[in-house]
């Protein structure tokens, strides 16, 4: 076996074979890093690919004059590359994710209880939501309100209705104040909240339709599959011919965008 320093020098001078050899010898290193990113909702293979890019960068940039081991240099390089890749999604606040999970957990537990005529166990809900027991426990304690748009999307899962329809349906049945028995005198309170439902409903309706229209065909399909047809990210990925990681990232982006716009 050739000295690693010798291989590095050759690789940096453009010798493909040496470079490949270093990559091959360090595949295990990359995997051991990838394993640490398990549980963050990504496909391990995808992260492995990114990790290899980090490894190749490390090979190209490592200064053979350094008095450090190559692995000492490569580890943060590979980790950094993976973290950069995860960054977009990683910037989402946990509180947001937890609130959404909390909503899902509660609904799922209710459903299981109703179906079986007894209380749902943690394990059953974990299996149905694809969340770990610990995540469920955390989510249960994050029970603050869920953004109306998320609630709308989640509640319409499996039903063949448009989101815009769903909002109107939701507002009139569960709140039921769209009629004329509403007296909107909500001028009290520090922020002078206006609850003019008729107006707000109309606004929501238009806004959602507009938001959906603004999505490109793929994003629209993605939202439909995920929230109206109850598909998993994996299933959607197959339908759209993209990876599950891409679905996850797109979905989060779309929802974030929609929420932002809806709050204007």
């Amino acid at each position: 076996m050739m000295e690693i320093m010798e291989l590095l020098q050759k690789a940096q001078k453009g010798d493909r074979q040496s470079r490949n050899q270093i990559v091959e010898e360090n595949v295990g290193l990359v995997w051991s890093i990838v394993k640490r990113f398990a549980g963050r909702g990504y496909d391990q293979e995808d992260i492995f690919q990114i990790g290899c890019i980090g490894l190749i960068k490390a090979i190209d940039r490592f200064d053979v004059q350094f008095q450090v081991k190559f692995s000492t240099y490569a580890v943060p390089m590979i980790t950094g590359e993976i973290k950069r890749f995860l960054r977009d999604d990683g910037m989402i606040k946990v509180s947001r994710t937890l609130k959404e999970q909390s909503y899902k957990v509660r609904r799922t537990a209710e459903k299981i209880s109703q179906e079986n005529g007894r209380n749902a166990t943690l394990e059953e809900v974990a299996a149905a939501t694809e969340l770990s027991r610990e995540e469920i426990v955390l989510a249960l304690e994050a029970n603050t309100e869920v953004d109306s748009i998320y609630r709308t999307i989640f509640e319409s899962e499996g039903r063949a209705v448009t989101m815009a329809d769903q909002v109107v349906f939701d507002k009139t049945t569960s709140l039921g104040y769209a009629g004329n028995n509403v007296s909107s005198q909500n001028t009290i309170g520090e922020n002078g909240v206006s609850a003019d439902y008729e107006k707000e409903e109309l606004l929501n309706h238009m806004l959602l339709e507009q938001l959906l229209k603004e999505l490109d065909a793929t994003s629209r399909k993605l939202i439909e599959y995920r929230y109206f047809h109850d598909m998993t990210q994996m299933q959607v990925a197959k339908q759209l011919g993209i990876s599950q990681v891409q679905v996850s990232r797109m979905e989060k982006k779309i929802l974030t965008q929609m929420r932002k716009k809806a709050q204007l």
Binding site: L29, S32, T72, Y73, V75, G80, D89, V94, S95, V137
Partner: protein
């Protein structure tokens, strides 16, 4: 807060959940939370596997928040580490036969802002680490 647990492997996921629950008050991002959980997991696993092995023992996890920084320490009273510098090198492991990869400390280091390891053979090991939460778009540049 201070958490004291036994050295059983069920407590690895329990310990990181507790730290996660504690730090939610800093409203971390998904990534920050995952980073801290990984680091805690590595430290606790080390205490269980290397610190105690087959012996019974306690592990103490201490968390404090100062401003936006979470400080975490993980302490065991196990066998201790002889050469800390060596132990902290990536890929260095004394347990290759158990499929350890020698990456634990490298990860604590990569995922946290600071890492300090104190240990004495026969007396135990103390890992201290901290991380500022909510930093503006911290850039993850290679060393």
């Amino acid at each position: 807060m201070k958490l004291i647990i036994n050295n059983i492997s069920e407590n690895e996921s329990f310990a990181r959940t507790v730290v996660a629950a504690y730090m939610t008050r800093l409203d971390p991002t998904f990534e920050e939370l995952a980073d801290v959980k990984t680091a805690v997991s590595e430290a606790v696993t080390n205490s269980i596997i290397h610190g105690y092995g087959k012996e019974k023992g306690k592990i103490e996890i201490h968390c404090t928040i100062k401003g936006k920084t979470i400080h975490i320490s993980v302490q065991d009273w196990g066998i201790g580490i002889e050469d800390i510098d060596k132990a902290m090198e990536p890929l260095y492991t004394t347990k290759p036969e158990w499929e350890r990869s020698g990456m634990g400390f490298a990860f604590m280091d990569a995922f946290m802002d600071h890492l300090k390891v104190t240990s004495k053979v026969g007396e135990g090991t103390l890992v201290e680490m901290d991380k500022e939460i909510g930093k503006e778009q911290e850039s993850v540049e290679p060393l």
